[in-house]
Symmetry: C2
Subunit: 263 residues, 2 copies
DNA sequence: GCGCTCGATATTGTCAACAATTTAGCCAAC
DNA sequence: GTTGGCTAAATTGTTGACAATATCGAGCGC
């Protein structure tokens, strides 16, 4: 209704490839045959979850957009049951909003909530870096210092993507070091939930210059085995992120509907 | 197979009442009639979630117990689809564990994980009490001081249930004051997830004596508008909880299977 | 006697038809 | 012109049947 047709193609064009990739792993063991009737080997629930999730992350599905079960069915060639459960899964992840009898849509995460998310992340991640600092081993120290070096290089080269990837590696490294699986789980969900807001920050040309000193300080504190300093450094970074997000949102406010992902 | 029969009654006997209560709210508007065929007005998905959740909380379903869809169906008089989605919901809550093609069981939360949960809760709740201390209003102060008074009285009277209820009120109050919906959401899930371990602590006769000073200190710090002190007080409490949980688990280790809920 | 394949059974996963609900358009009445 | 109810269309929710998968036990060869 809202948009008559053809938009389901947005989901189909690029998604099925990625979706099939994860679906292939499943049905590989045995050929179903299915009594001669070929039901087009429809996507499993997990594959649908992944396809829709990626579509949201990559901006093919914009916040607020309606997710009609039947449309997704056709676009991904999946049965409605699978699509339905997939949407429920995504609701639990906080990516999709579902209202009873009224359908699902891509969840809109308002700035205020995004700031709250950063705040909670700050609390949980400060726990993680503190524990990482306490538990650091010589091997970890070498790895972290190498990452610090790499981070500096990427920043100097102006390699935005590489810099973003490396920060993720740092994050994953101290998370592993912290040995806090519950914290890791919580963080994964929170990060997924404000991917969009995070993207706006991460992929800015000048972001590396601002964030590099914060990252280096965090790494230095962990390597020094100083939990308090690590917490402080992480909180400083988080506060900068909050401020920058606010500033960015204000700057973009006038343009309302537009979302210039690649500023 | 494992246990031939009759155990489904464990779920049915007491649960349907509570389940019906929440189901009643839904179907109240209109009588379905359903073409003359009476499908026994089966429980909706949410009602099943609630019934199973309560059964787990109240210990009628013990950790590790298998949750066969068909059995729950019959016990609660719900359709399998609803039971199925309910189990998936509970999986997301961390209460139920589901293995593909092998069914669901009540999740076993090992001591180690329970300690991790307390640690994450400590991080998130310390954020909340700090914010509560920053944002406190005169009305909040009056409310908190009244709760502190009540807490002291219940502890003196040895009213274990009342004391537990009041601590929950304190928790809810500073959570509301903190204005951190995301943190509240995360905490709700974490609390649900180690309900069982928490019960062992909360409902001990002598627990109030130990925890009361911690609670009073937290409240005092919030009322004083001192975020740092509030965080410190909360962390002290959390650490005591961790230590006590460890000690309790060790003490119970010899008795293996038994779970003396009302020690 | 021991291990192994092969069937029987129990249980979960998928699907498509059906029921219920909401929404939008329309006409009538005020 | 606006409000109110009524009907039709679109969409979600539910159910039962069927397919796929894992588990267990019996028979069989070694």
């Amino acid at each position: 209704m809202e948009r008559p047709m053809g938009e389901s193609a947005v989901l189909a064009n690029n998604s099925t490839d990625a979706a099939m990739k994860s679906a292939g792993t499943k049905k590989s063991t045995k050929t179903p045959a299915t009594k001669g009737k070929i039901p087009a080997a429809s996507l499993s629930r997990e594959a649908v979850v992944e396809a829709v999730r990626q579509s949201i992350f990559q901006g093919r599905l914009v916040p607020g957009q309606r997710l009609v079960e039947a449309e997704i069915c056709e676009a991904l060639n999946a049965s409605r049951g699978n699509v339905r459960t997939a949407l429920m899964d995504l609701e639990h992840e906080g990516l999709v909003e579902r209202i009873a009898n009224r359908g699902a849509r891509v969840r809109i995460v308002p700035l205020e909530e995004a700031l709250h998310i950063v705040e909670v992340r700050m609390a949980v991640e400060s726990l993680c870096v503190a524990r990482a600092a306490e538990r650091i081993t010589p091997e970890d120290r070498i790895e972290l210092q190498a990452l610090a070096q790499q981070l500096t290089e990427k920043a100097e080269q102006g390699d935005v993507d590489g810099y973003a990837d490396t920060t993720r590696s740092v994050f994953e490294t101290y998370l592993r070091m912290a040995n806090q699986p519950v914290a890791a789980e919580v963080l994964a969900k929170l990060r997924a939930r404000n991917t969009r807001h995070r993207y706006r920050l991460t992929y800015r040309k000048d972001r590396a210059k601002v964030s590099l000193p914060y990252w280096l300080e965090i790494i230095a504190a962990i390597c020094a085995g100083d939990p308090a300093a690590a917490e402080a450094a992480l909180r400083a970074h988080a506060q900068n992120v909050q401020e920058t997000m606010k500033a960015l949102a204000e700057a973009e406010q006038p343009f309302a509907g537009l979302t210039p992902l690649s500023g």
